[in-house]
Amino acid sequence: MTAPARPRARRPRSTTPWLYLAPALVVIGGLLVYPVYQLGLISFFEYTQAQVSGGEPTTFQGFGNYAELFSDEQFWQVLLATVAFAAACVVSTLAAGCALAVLLTRVRAVPRLALMLAALGAWATPAITGSTVWLFLFDPDFGPVNRLLGLGDHSWTYGRLSAFLLVLLEVVWCSFPFVMVTVYAGIRAVPAEVLEAASLDGASQWRIWRSVLAPMLRPILVVVTIQSVIWDFKVFTQIYVMTNGGGIAGQNLVLNVYAYQKAFASSQYSLGSAIGVVMLLILLAVTLVYLRLLRRQGEEL
């Protein structure tokens, strides 16, 4: 994405920009490139606790770890579940965030403040606390939700979909504020006369959103979508806490928890690294394809 194909005005090549970039590059190199390099490296070796502590020699495996991973039936199930779950989370988060952002522009100061504060509260809550509280709310024995709905001792975490739904609600709850605040800021930046013109032309709320706001907010929406995709694909805490490490018989495992199980719980660091690399590639691919699509559309518009 760095080299635009369009011809540009010739400038003398100079090292000055690099000099200015150097501090950032050093930090990125140390904190991002090197760990990713290590991740990739480890994924090509047999690297478990025995190798780390020197009990056994480290051996080069080539794509052995990847072969093992791809031949594991459970990996594909988990991958599918992760993709579906992340997609549902992204769609729900964006829908909730955008709807509430529009709502924010429609209400008066006091309810707006209340909504903002509530959202910020959810945003500021650590994931582990949020998960524990949600779990308690839906607890079969002590939870207020069952009492309120008169469900007796219905267990929300037993069924696969119902457990995923519960986690989805928590994920949406703690990630919609980011979308809402960002989109709200974006809407505020849209000139009032444009919206006024649209409503004078008799456009409905939905129509204004679809034909006026959404196109104008495109850059912001791109950012929040990509952010959400990355966050929701990598969800860990919520699943780990709310389904007790992957649910009944591992039915609620997502890739990140699966990688944790492999890499840290059972000390197969190399296999865990391979999962990490696969996740990295998937996320990179999704993001690139998405940006590509948007650019093409942008050019047509």
Binding site: Y47, A50, S53, G54, E56, D153, S266
Partner: protein, 437 residues
Amino acid sequence: MNTRKPAVRVLGATALAAATLIVSACAPQTTGDSSSDKDEKTGTLRVWLFQEVGNKPKEKVVDAVVAGFEKEHEGTKVDVEYIPVETRTQRVKAAFNDPKSAPDLMEYGNTDTAGYVKDGGLLDVSEEFAAWDEAKDTDPTARQSVTVDGKVYGAPFYVGVRALYYRTDVFDELGLEVPRTMDELASTARRIRAEKPELYGLVVGGAYTYGAMPFVWANGGELAEGKGGSYASAIDSAQAQKGIKAYTSLFSDDNCPVAKCAGMGGNDTVTAFAAGKAGMAIGGDFSHAAVEAGKVKGKYGVVPLPGVKAGTVAPAFAGGNNIGVLESTSHRTLAVELMERLAAKDTQESMFEAMGFLPTFADVRRQAAAKKPYVKPFVETLAAGTKFVPASPAWAQIDSSLVLPTMFQEVVSGKKDVAGASRDAAKKMDAAFGSAG
């Protein structure tokens, strides 16, 4: 487009260089061979012991042993550190990775023995153990729990077993007899649930491996069979399947509803029993304090978990902890001697008085049972014969990847039948045995 070419070339060159690096020499970091040739006779010995809930009495016993040891060995200091149980895995891994920060001696869970040995962390003390006069009274299961491939890697510190807790008030009220067989256990559990729907009959957990295994063992099943140093899973044998069926049939609305019990682990079942929500539970001697602190204090009894035939006891899992010397120690002789002191008969006796830890010596245990009647059913369970997990480094992996809980949960949630679930579990276990040797 031609502005791009150099970039591509550079990229290509970098990739090539990186690939060469990877293939040639640049392996991920490892610690060198950690064993030490030194055997210093003075200096500081570092000891890691587990931090228990209510650790003071344990510290007292240890302090007494340490004081005696320091007195006898002039110029020797012992530095004891109590490490939290929850983070022990990370601490131990770190110790193996960095011998400089590692202790000379440490306490460890007995199911971890084989894994730690494979990681190259524990010292082979077979000779010293054989020469130790007290070792002959160590009970066989405890001995098995420090033994890998015929070599001894530490001294047993204490054992823990599970037995059947039951509510005496409920049994009296309903006129029930203490169950003498596994079938009676199930029918008694169902009676309790039928008469008192607010209680679980026998509270069971889908993730409670060591509560479930006695059912498998009592029916003649095994986790795995050792064949010349390597293991093969036996969890899908006909007998094991019978046991799995017996355990999983307890997950039903007439005893312990699947939706609530499938996700429970051992602690959850003990908590439910202690809170007065169950007629019976499978709990350990180490659960005694938790149950005493609950609502059911004074209203419960404990008996060995009955086997298939009347008068037999279902084999329990012999959990517990060991004390081992780390391979990286530079005070080999001193460390081994301190290990023997800490795991000695009189230390275990005072440790039982202080903490309730069951001694690993049969004779010391008998005396303990005479002093504190509550341990009697546990001592009987131990005397009836216990079982241990395969002494294979693969066990840690099987345990942490939840192979057995997954199997039980698959069955109780109706995802698979017993044959299918146990076959899949056996496959996963064999894969782990195969890769870990």
